[in-house]
């Protein structure tokens, strides 16, 4: 294994220094109380650790011997907050920021609110209806990271989504998928606030209802920011890197979210290189948990699990791979190779695995032999407009998406730009053939259904009239769902 240079992290170094040394190294000199007790009250004298009398006496003595009269006072900024109570502990602020609230006891129960069910998934009559997500699916989606803290779930009694035209299209894909059918691969694109992430959530919910196995990478930024450990994958050419902690976490979430499905299937083949505790009749659920528990085996177990899931002829379920925020993976990462060069995201094994599944073909290299969803399934990657990486990452993705959107609309797209420096050609080549699923503004009927649902939930107080709807639609850029929610639900609160 090649030695990996560790990038120096100044913040970590300074923190380590601060922990090893007390904050104020001269405190025993400047604090008169400590100096005094240190000289006349040796440690042995406070014989009983539970008695406070000697310390109190020492303190009283200290206060009596303090010099009177004017002394030089050098004011020092105190780090302790003067008022406002206890400051939030470490990580509390972030936890509060990332908190996902999926219900609101103050919101009204909506009469006649339908529920998404396996039968309702592909029902064309569900168009323009708001359907609640079943409780079990909500728990699974939560594990898969399908809900975002910025989405407005907290304004309603229970999570529910609007069945729009794009949802029905995905529903028909999920409903009609069978073994041997070509999997559905698409990049979900659209302007900011059009509901790309929510569409991904709907797709995952429908897949879970249809007993698919869903694997989700909700925040792909975590893979490239250098926040999780990495190591070179042995015997790979070109050199790939794996991230065992991230993979272990992914296996844990996948196993828990898909527990019921994975329990129905057992390990069918021998997997060399895995611990001997893997037995042939082991369920895939336990198999995945094995990798989740021991991160050293996380990546081999993930590969083996994928091999098991994509084995044809065993009645394995279809698999859905979902990723939200594709552009962050489209370029160099914060990780460094052995020769201190940034590692490209496509050289991270986890990322490369996803890109190969999304492209539906091998990108060359060691993962080439992997099965490409012979049991059917879907690979969905959504773009994110609120978290936009630099142009060096977005340019290739946007060009590929624009070309594929144009191809879907039978129009002439933008030409390839081989001399554009900002275009990452590895990414562009991988995504060139992937279809784009464009999410646009809501139609007037869809918007009316949604706004009426807001009104029935009590989140919107105004009566819903045609004029009201027309105004809100115009203000929301012609029906951008995020802006519509902002103008109706959030504006009133």
């Amino acid at each position: 294994m090649a030695s990996i240079p560790v990038r120096p992290c100044l913040r970590r170094v300074s923190r380590a220094l601060a922990e090893s040394n007390p904050r104020d190294t001269h405190a025993h000199l400047t604090n008169p109380l400590r100096r005094w007790t240190g000289s006349t009250l040796p440690r042995a004298s406070s014989s009983s650790p539970f008695s406070t009398s000697t310390r109190l006496a020492a303190a009283a003595a200290a206060s009596s011997t303090r010099r009177t009269g004017s002394t030089l006072k050098i004011s020092r900024k105190s780090n302790a907050p003067t008022s406002g109570g206890k400051p939030p502990g470490r990580g509390e602020r972030k936890a509060f920021r990332k908190k996902i609230v999926l219900s609101n006891a103050n919101a009204l129960e909506v009469d006649g609110l339908g529920e998404l069910s396996p039968r309702a998934v592909a029902d064309p009559a569900a168009h323009c209806r708001v359907l609640a997500l079943p409780g079990a699916v909500v728990d699974q989606l939560r594990l898969l990271g399908a809900f975002k803290p910025t989405q407005g779930w907290k304004y309603f009694r229970r999570p529910a989504t609007l069945m729009r035209a794009e949802s029905l299209r995905l529903a028909s894909v999920v409903d009609g998928m069978a073994e041997g059918k070509e999997p559905f691969r698409a990049i979900v694109s659209g302007e900011r606030g059009t509901g790309k992430s929510a569409l991904l959530t709907q797709a995952m919910a429908m897949a879970l209802l249809k007993n698919w196995v869903v694997i989700s990478i909700p925040d792909p930024k975590d893979l490239i920011l250098g926040h999780t450990d990495y190591a070179p994958l042995p015997d790979t050419e070109p050199q790939l890197y794996f991230q065992k902690a991230y993979t272990a976490r992914l296996l844990y979430n996948t196993a828990r979210a898909n527990r019921d499905v994975l329990r129905e299937h057992t390990v069918s083949q021998a997997h060399p290189g895995l611990p001997s505790s893997v037995s042939p009749d082991m369920t895939l659920d336990r198999f995945a948990q094995l990798g989740a528990r021991d991160s050293d085996f996380a990546w081999p177990v993930f590969r083996a699990l994928w091999a098991e899931l994509t084995k044809p002829g065993l009645g394995r379920p279809p698999v859905m791979l979902a990723l939200d925020g594709l552009a962050s993976l489209a370029g160099p990462t914060e990780y460094l190779s052995a020769d201190v060069k940034p590692i490209h995201a496509l050289d991270l094994a986890q990322v490369r695995h996803f890109f190969e599944q999304l492209a539906g073909r091998s990108l060359g290299g060691p993962l080439a032999a992997e099965q490409r969803l012979p049991n059917g399934g879907a690979v969905l990657a959504a773009l994110s407009q609120s978290e936009r990486p630099p142009r060096t990452h977005t340019a290739a993705v946007e060009l590929a998406v624009a070309q594929n959107e144009a191809r879907a609309a039978a129009a002439e797209g933008p030409p390839a730009r081989p001399y554009d420096r900002d275009i990452d050609h590895r990414v562009y080549d991988a995504l060139r053939e992937v279809r784009a699923l464009k999410v646009g503004a809501l139609s007037r009927e869809e918007a009316r259904a949604l706004v009426e649902y807001y009104a029935k939930s009590g989140a919107l107080m105004a009566p819903v009239s045609e004029a009201f709807l027309a105004e809100k639609l115009a203000l929301a850029g012609g029906g951008v769902v995020g802006e519509l929610e902002r103008g109706t639900v959030r504006a009133g609160l």
Binding site: E466, A470, L475, R486, A491
Partner: protein
């Protein structure tokens, strides 16, 4: 300073030796308003200087005076040696004779017609008087703005005389001070829809300029080819842009296609307000009172206040420093 030809006239010299005598008014004559008024009358002018010679007229004759001037026979050549030159106007030595004459003449006219009834307040005819620059250009004199304002005061007072009773003389005097082109007389042609049913209009606010094409439709808005949500991040700005449509409950009756440039987001949004309102008036002129009450008609003239020397910004003073 070169003398205007009309400012001088030629008169007979009373005597040969008189040519060297400076022709001046007595000390204080011109500064005294009473004596100045006196000098306006023809008779007083004659008392100062001899009458003008008419070189060509058949009845030209030496001035009738008691002096022993030689009789000039009819048609005889004029002896130029016996002539002297004196100013045409007694205001000549005020340095601004044209201005002084104008002011005194107007005051005299006003005094004559002071008793005429006035038009009701606010109903006097709108007149664009000559600007200060234009007046200064015609008089060729170093007049100050404050002096010209004296003339304007008199003119405005004369203009207030009831239109049915204005004397010919007053009309004549006023016309001398009117601009050749009367901007108040120009009425722009009413805006019209073009052949595709679009109304085009322009609105401005701060340093933003918005051009709007408004057409009957179902509530679509495009600003610089972007939707309202893409063009304006603030909901308040989006509401400003379509505010005229909202107050008249016509959001779903029109489509807006707009181009905006200059300024910031607030300026652009409020420039759109004005432009959309003006375009709506082309479609429905009767909406004007409603739109005016909603504040969509009046252009807000405020601009960024300029920075001044000695100040950090327009008004901010530097921090006080001891010594």
């Amino acid at each position: 300073m070169e003398l205007p030809a009309a400012a001088m006239r030629r008169v007979w010299l009373r005597s040969c030796g008189a040519a060297s005598r400076p022709n001046v008014f007595p000390r204080g004559f011109l500064s005294n308003p009473a004596s100045r008024r006196k000098c306006l009358s023809t008779s007083s002018r004659r008392s100062i200087a001899a009458a003008e010679i008419d070189f060509d007229g058949p009845q030209s004759a030496p001035p009738p005076s008691g002096d022993s001037l030689p009789e000039r026979p009819q048609g005889a050549p004029v002896n130029l040696d016996r002539l002297r030159i004196v100013p045409a106007s007694p205001s000549y030595f005020t340095a601004r004779p044209n201005f002084t004459d104008d002011l005194l003449r107007l005051r005299q006219v006003l005094r004559r017609y002071e008793a005429l009834p006035l038009a009701p307040p606010g109903s006097a005819p709108k007149v664009a008087w000559k600007t200060f620059g234009q007046y200064k250009g015609t008089s060729m004199e170093p007049v100050k703005v404050s002096r010209y304002n004296l003339i304007l005061d008199v003119l405005k007072r004369l203009n207030q005389i009831h239109p049915s009773l204005v004397p010919e003389e007053v009309t004549e005097e006023l016309s001398k001070f009117k601009r050749h082109v009367d901007p108040h007389a120009y009425k722009p042609p009413p805006p019209q829809l073009d052949q595709w049913g679009r109304a085009m209009s322009v609105g401005k606010r701060k340093s933003s300029v918005a051009r709007v094409w408004l057409v009957e439709g179902e509530g679509e808005v495009l600003v610089n080819n972007k939707t309202l949500a893409q063009a304006f991040a603030r909901v308040h700005d989006r509401e400003s842009a379509i505010w005229p449509l909202k107050v008249t409950q016509r959001i779903d009756k029109y489509n807006v296609w707009a181009l905006v440039h200059g300024g910031g987001t607030t300026g652009q949004a409020e420039a759109l307000t004005l432009a959309v309102a003006k375009a709506m008036l082309t479609h429905e002129p009767l909406l004007k009172p409603v739109l005016r009450r909603a504040g969509c008609i009046t252009r807000d003239p405020r601009r960024v206040e300029r920075k001044k020397p000695g100040k950090l910004k327009a008004r901010k003073m530097p921090a006080w420093v001891k010594r």
